[in-house]
């Protein structure tokens, strides 16, 4: 099956995925000191259950979820808790973190290599509990706690479970390498989730620039005994093909209503990395304390995909990979389209870190702000069917309500408009500001 359908709009930025060369995952050595921020997911920060001086092992629970939307946190090294203090955070600037000094023994809480035979006979409730205990959050970047997402209300049955392997952000290849290396385990996780959700179909969506992964998954599915409803779906290469609503539209033809959730159209989407983490949590009883991170960009001498412990600082990864002898401009967590520019390399890898990019001044754009010439390119690329130039102008003039009425809150911040804008206007900056202002004014009114 060729990818035929796609969503409206989108862009084709240079992929730069080849920088990482051969796609293999290398193990990054455990850090001497792990910095584990309490805020690892959307919602509330977790609450520490250890104190200064406590000895912990790899996989020991160190902070418990607090509230409905929150997640557990586990130590990524074995050693001693030396402090709980404010530390740099890649998303929040600064936040409380548990600092653990490694004893270099890397002693695990339990053996994480042997598969539990009982996994297949677990009930949905037991599976959800294992996922919650393991502290799994959406690893695509949104970091929504997985156990909440996987437990939709009874009146919203899930018919289609979609595994997002689009990885449409340029540079990033962490999902791709994971798919190539752990296809069997991902499929086990997929089958488990599909069964748990009682979904009719499970679609594995992969962009066509990852032909090897598509072929591999197809072959594996054929070999599977119980592969009913399991299907690989090749996607057109286009940014943002991996955006949840656009992905659902491409695969099912359904539009998630404005302000709604995928479950409103009986769909649930999880990133490939999350599905793998679910496998590990259920079959290996392994909590989420490491993830695959692409370290790339033309500012990096040896780009690669690493299996990295949460809490490893960007500095360690960047220094280990070597800085290229070029003019460095930006350090980014995530991809170049939606990633966050960092002010320091002291920030740690968190569960949301899919990539670390060091961009040179040739790669990272200088935005020269010329007047909007109303060319309409932002309108034609907007995957949400918005008029970004108009929204941004309204926000600029302080007319937040007007901006809201023309779709301000529908924007998913993919940045396509900003990328394509020939005038280099800061469309997304104004839109983000507008959303912030709107939410603030709504809270004040309450």
């Amino acid at each position: 099956m060729k990818a035929r359908v796609t969503f409206k709009g989108g862009i084709h930025p240079p992929e730069n995925k080849g920088l990482c060369g051969e796609l293999s995952i290398k193990d990054f050595p455990p850090p001497e000191t792990a910095v584990l921020p309490l805020q690892q997911s959307l919602g509330s920060a977790s609450e520490p259950v250890v104190k200064k001086g406590d000895k912990v092992k790899k996989g020991t629970l160190i902070a418990r979820s607090k509230g409905y939307i929150s997640s557990n946190l586990h130590s990524s090294v074995s050693g001693e808790v030396i402090d709980i203090r404010k530390s740099p955070h890649p998303l929040l600037g600064e936040a409380n973190a548990i600092i653990i000094k490694s004893d270099n023994r890397d002693e695990p809480e339990r053996d994480y290599s042997a598969e539990e035979a009982s996994a297949d006979s677990l009930s949905s409730g037991e599976i959800l509990e294992l996922i919650q205990n393991a502290g799994i959050v959406g690893l695509g970047g949104a970091t929504f706690p997985a156990h909440v997402k996987l437990n939709p209300p009874a009146d919203k049955p899930i018919k289609t479970f979609i595994i997002n392997g689009a990885e449409c952000e340029p540079y990033l290849t962490s999902d791709h390498s994971l798919m190539l290396e752990c296809a069997d385990r991902i499929l086990k996780g997929a089958a488990l989730i599909k069964k748990m959700l009682k979904a009719e179909k499970c679609l594995i969506a992969i962009e066509e620039n990852k032909k090897d992964a598509i072929a591999l998954f197809r072959q594996k599915i054929i070999q599977l005994k119980n592969a009913e409803g399991l299907q690989v779906f090749p996607l057109k290469v286009k940014y943002p093909q991996g955006a949840e609503k656009q992905l659902i539209y491409t695969l099912t033809g359904k539009e998630v209503p404005s302000g709604g959730l995928p479950m409103d159209v009986s769909v649930l989407v999880h990133n490939i990395g999350t599905v793998f983490a679910v496998y590990e949590a259920v079959f290996l009883r392994k909590p989420l304390f490491e993830r695959i991170v692409t370290v790339s960009g033309k500012g990096i001498k040896n780009p690669a995909n690493w299996r990295v412990r949460i809490g490893t600082t960007f500095k360690m990864l960047v220094n280990h990979s070597g800085l290229a002898d070029k003019k460095i401009k930006k350090l980014i967590m995530g991809g170049p389209m939606m990633g966050l520019a960092q002010y320091t390399d002291e920030v740690p890898v968190v569960k949301a870190t899919s990539g670390i990019l060091v961009l040179t001044s040739d790669e990272a754009a200088d935005f020269e702000h010329l007047a909007c010439i109303r060319c309409g390119k932002c309108v034609s690329v907007c995957p949400m069917g918005l008029m970004p130039a108009e929204i941004s102008k309204m926000v600029e003039k302080g007319r937040i309500d007007t901006a809201k009425s023309i779709g301000l809150m529908d924007c998913m911040e993919c940045g396509s408009c900003n990328y394509i804008c020939p005038s280099g206007t800061n469309l997304l900056q104004y839109i983000k500001l507008g959303k912030y202002e709107y939410l603030r004014s709504k809270n004040v009114k309450r």
């Binding site: 609503k245 709604g260 170049p336 960092q342 010439i373 529908d410 990328y419």
Partner: protein, 321 residues
């Protein structure tokens, strides 16, 4: 060590397209070079002078206005160059040079800067300049250098002039046959403004714009299709190629109506805009007092662009109509 580097922190995205406004303007200018070259080739060196004066005067006016309004001078973005070039291409080949300069001044100072500069003007500056010159110097604006031998009594005329004033028969007298007329129109060996006579070269230029993604097909296609349909129903098959290749239609459809600043930003709006341009062009050509209607049709549609935008909003994903 990254610590020693100066890290830039901005909102995402961190990459952007290489197709900047500046590059777009220069691509449009480059796409006009064949048509401008044909104008100089057919009409002689004075045409080159007209182009040079218009471009020069536009750039000087832009500099002058920028200084006066304390805005950064934006010569580099190529918009003044393009306005000057477009204005020159819709002027008669023998147009007095001081009038060229005055027209350029009007284009830049009045129709662009008085409205706030690049991106804020309501009317296409080049067309506004032409309309101004038409009002101020009607005689000079309709004095054509022609390339055909005309029957007694007609000193000079464009094919559209001839059709309007003398009728169909005298047009045929000059060009002998339909096929000869269409061939001359297509190549551009007819009387007219400097840059609008060669339909072939303008179409090539227009296709360059579309393939370089400087503009989209919406306006040119809807504009031209409307002209085809109206000319078929008002005249017949013969009228289609005549109306397509004569006058300023190709220049207007590919280079003037597509001016992003003065046309709607939504694809649907652009189609409505193109249809409007086509209807008004044909209305003026067939019923109006002027032989040619492209300039006024586009200016008229420029003025209703905000209105079109109000009724051609895009549909937001996940929102039912």
């Amino acid at each position: 060590m990254l610590k020693d580097k100066h890290l830039t922190v901005t909102v995402s995205p961190h990459i952007k397209t290489s197709l900047t406004t500046e590059r777009m303007m220069w691509i449009v200018s480059a796409a006009l070079i064949p048509a401008a070259g044909a104008g100089i080739y057919f009409f002689g060196p004075h045409a080159a002078l007209v182009i040079a004066v218009c471009v020069g005067a536009s750039i000087i006016t832009e500099l002058f206005c920028a200084v006066l309004m304390k805005k950064p001078a934006t010569i580099k973005d190529g918009s003044a160059f393009l306005t000057g070039l477009l204005l020159a291409l819709c002027l008669p080949p023998e147009f007095p040079l001081w009038m060229c300069a005055l027209g350029s001044f009007f284009s830049i100072a009045v129709s662009k800067f008085a409205f706030g500069g690049l991106g804020h003007n309501i009317f296409n500056p080049a067309l506004a300049g032409r309309a101004f010159l038409m009002g101020a110097f009607a005689k000079e604006m309709t004095t054509w250098k022609t390339l055909q031998d005309f029957p007694d009594g007609i000193t000079a005329a464009t094919p559209l002039n001839l059709l309007k004033e003398q009728g169909y028969d005298s047009l045929m007298k000059v060009f002998d046959s339909h096929s000869h007329l269409f061939k001359e129109l297509f190549i551009g060996r007819v009387g007219g403004s400097i840059g609008e006579t060669s339909a072939a070269l303008l179409i090539i230029g227009g296709l360059i714009l579309i393939f370089a993604r400087v503009t989209t097909w919406h306006i040119p296609v809807s504009y031209i299709l409307t002209v085809i349909i109206v000319s078929y129903f008002t005249g017949g098959l013969f009228d289609i190629p005549f109306h397509l290749f004569t006058g300023g239609l190709m220049l207007g459809a590919f280079f003037m109506a597509t001016d992003p600043v003065t046309s709607p930003i939504t694809p649907k709006g652009q189609i409505i805009f193109g249809i409007g341009c086509g209807l008004f062009t044909m209305l003026i050509r067939i019923r109006g007092g002027y032989p040619e209607g492209v300039c006024y049709a586009i200016l008229l549609m420029n003025s209703v662009t905000p209105l079109i935008e109000r009724f051609s909003k895009t549909r937001i994903f996940g929102v039912k109509r």
